[in-house]
Symmetry: C2
Amino acid sequence: MDAQKLDALRHSAAHMLAAAVLELYPGTKLAIGPTIENGFYYDFKFPDGVSLSENDLPKIEEKMKEIAKGGHEFKRKEVTVPAAKDFEKDQPFKLELIDEFAKESKTLTLYESGPFTDLCRGGHAENTKEIPLDGLKLQKLAGAYWRGSEKNLMLTRIYGLLFATKKELNEHLAMLEEAKKRDHKKLGKELDLFTFSETVGKGLPLWTEKGATIRRELERFIVDEEIRRGYLHVRTPDIAKLDLYKKSGHYPHYKDSMYAPIVIEEEEFMLRPMTCPHHFELYLRTPHSYRELPMRIAELAQLYRYEQSGELSGLQRVRTFCLADAHIICASEEQAVAEIGKALDLIEYIAGVFGLVHGTEYWYRFSLGDRANSEKYYKNDAGWDKAENLLRAHLKFRNSHFVEAPGEAAFYGPKVDIQMKNVNGKEDTAFTVQYDLCMPERFDLKYNAEDGTEKRTFVVHRSSIGAIERIMAFLIEHYAGAFPLWLSPVQVVLTPVSEKHVDGAKKLMEEFKKVGIRVAIDDADESVGKKVRNAAKQKIPYIVVVGDKEIAGEDWMIRVRGQEDQMKMSKADFVAKVLLEIKERV
Amino acid sequence: MDAQKLDALRHSAAHMLAAAVLELYPGTKLAIGPTIENGFYYDFKFPDGVSLSENDLPKIEEKMKEIAKGGHEFKRKEVTVPAAKDFEKDQPFKLELIDEFAKESKTLTLYESGPFTDLCRGGHAENTKEIPLDGLKLQKLAGAYWRGSEKNLMLTRIYGLLFATKKELNEHLAMLEEAKKRDHKKLGKELDLFTFSETVGKGLPLWTEKGATIRRELERFIVDEEIRRGYLHVRTPDIAKLDLYKKSGHYPHYKDSMYAPIVIEEEEFMLRPMTCPHHFELYLRTPHSYRELPMRIAELAQLYRYEQSGELSGLQRVRTFCLADAHIICASEEQAVAEIGKALDLIEYIAGVFGLVHGTEYWYRFSLGDRANSEKYYKNDAGWDKAENLLRAHLKFRNSHFVEAPGEAAFYGPKVDIQMKNVNGKEDTAFTVQYDLCMPERFDLKYNAEDGTEKRTFVVHRSSIGAIERIMAFLIEHYAGAFPLWLSPVQVVLTPVSEKHVDGAKKLMEEFKKVGIRVAIDDADESVGKKVRNAAKQKIPYIVVVGDKEIAGEDWMIRVRGQEDQMKMSKADFVAKVLLEIKERV
């Protein structure tokens, strides 16, 4: 079924939902009922004394189906504003909408479908019979402010799913079920990786030792790999004078995502929302020769961007994050495009370490400049043309999976967005590699060319893995908390059979620690079975039950995460195997 | 010579300086002339048209000596305020001082010494002859605002050194000369370790790749060593709601060193000035058992503290710094004191890695509570008694070098300060280990005891190495920029003999890189001699000149930093030696 048709069916289903609610709960006031990805919702103000729970949804769903089966045609009626107001006289939210629509048009439209008529711009099925009732499910309830503002009344939103077939609905429900299990907020708590504190503030995660261990391994991996590839890792301050962002030209564009300035001795300081101007100031400390270019200035940079409290979500949307950032100062357009290629090589290497497949699990979006939009487009037509043509040719040359996206570029140049699907099946831009036509001018970035003249540089902005917080959210869900060995906070757990094996287990623990294996001991006063189950719940890769035989040096029986059969192996072989797997990041 | 006597001589010399200036530059206005460590200064407003340079200092010094040799007695004269004003009628700064002193006393004192009389509270030699002229040297000129405020007139300050003997003066001058060479601001620039940018802001260092490399090695060393010793390394946000610092009680005490709040959606957020409340909030996420204690929560924490721009100095005094911080949650006073002991073990281990000797190069200051000062003293007499007694006993037991310092404790408990001498010979508290009697109450920190009851915890605050910026300043000066191999940003430099050896050198570079050695190649179009001198100036530990023989695989001749003789060795042996030295941090 094509997307437009499906959308029309979802819209029609929203009307059925309102019709069902009005039959079951007379006197309910209707707000709006648009379609969304996978379905639709409708916002209601229920009569006083009526308080819905999720248990009421099947009943409403039944009523919806009953009405739809009636086979009502959707009939369009054009009416004047006063007529529309008269029709909706008992519906205060609709009256507010009419007043607003009346600013644009003198006539409005109503859509009638059997017992129910709604103020509506249209886009429906011909007949309510067309709605694929097998693919329908009322999903959940939520609170929602009228017009999205917390100053307004809180309404009740009912969400519905609608797919063309029962099979598609079931697949979607199964995916949601799996996503729920993998939800990083849920797993973050169960595995004790991070927490939030009301006193510290919203959107500011506190990482426990376990979560911080994963972060540290990840960060060291990225930093070391980047250094290996010729990046110069630097450290620049997380605050700077407002002047810096005025100089870079970010201030007017990014003002709304920056926090308010802090005044120190009559100067205004900002929490930095981006790293680039900091790296440019560092570049400017001395003159540079063409021999030094391309200069790849990298940093794990803490950035601060304003997010509304309503938008905050676990590690996915936070108020401060650590970006694996870099700015590559180049001598020519060709060098810049080659560097973008190398950045993509790095990204593909890292994605490979996480087992992500290019083309299906992540791909590129080549975002082009909108030359008509002077707000979002830094004027330099020839520069954009050259950059876009070189980049397109490069993406084709390397056989990248990419789609073109006109008008999605940054204001200073075209970019390659790294697109990913999260466990909810939603596509998202994870991070970007950008070509910059503007900053070299603003910061007067130059180099001494081979011919003895001073020349303007070109700049590439890129991330290799995005924000650490966000990739952590992604990885927790990607691995469902069962991190590969090198990232696991506890790699091996030793569970002594009884009190008398605790000392022996402790000695073994020291041996493992000494060679750099993250090992824990579970000496709680519980049965071995319970302890093994606990360790499995914590998704620890290897569990060793330590009894007389293990201490005596006989072969060990090792429980491997996700495997039925235990692994039989000498202690020395096991240690060697663990160390090798850590080193190879398998 | 006793300190009081020497101070009186320095004060007398300040009078001689003013006398000399008045003779040489009639019409000069006098401000103040106190003694300072190692000498004295006097602030002057010279007549219009007179502009002093350092070249004028010998002449003034000669005149001072000439006057002093005159053998004038210091004569005290008590005068009324009007008489004092009349005497100083041509000295506007003195008149301002008289008005101020007049608030406290009706009579003032003048000190006459031959040709010169000054408004002065006294503390002089008997006779100007006593001033040890051999130990006198006018040191430098500086600008200084009248009364230290930039709203006032800028005066000229002349600094003088005065020691009891010529030998002591010369020793001091030699130390200053050495300190100048080792100055971290100077070396930081010469070795390209860090820089500052006016546009980014004062007190906010930007670390180059080389400086950031040293930091990274240092930070990883600290983190890994702490983890090895059972610390749990976490990550908590650098901003938090003001509420958090009100809850901790820091806010009234630390208000002046905190930056102004940032308002986000009607809540006030602060750049954190300390880590402790963040760690306590993390501890509070779940209940804890006595089995988990002591729990050593550690973090490399970015902190923000207000420093006046006039107080900023290189890496030593900055506006944000990264503290190697930890908070140890303990089950009893005894456990807390044992943990302080373990923290001192760690500190002594780290100091040992840097070759610092306990007792001479660093020692402890045991800071006790001032029970009379209710501002600085958290009221809990029994708690302080027990903590101070246990700590004192522990410091004695471990044979630590320590001095006791009554009244120097933190407001929440006694502490052990780690005292060091910097290259200027100045003693400084590098960082501290603190016993906390207060926070466990404020944050209601509890644990489930073995007997089934809930009990109050005890807390130790400690650093292992202090602020990274500050220890970097210290280490740059301590090593005079010649960092040990493991910290050197470039460990080995390859200098090809000629153009035709560049490719061979590059291949060697890749071999070195692969095994984790930080190697650079100097392929500039310059003579080998020049390149070797450049590398030596950059204090690179090993220099290898790469010619036909080196590429062919014959034994290498290696230049070792600080050694006359070259070292002859096969490539394989050299690589093994370098790797071993890095690993052992020699």
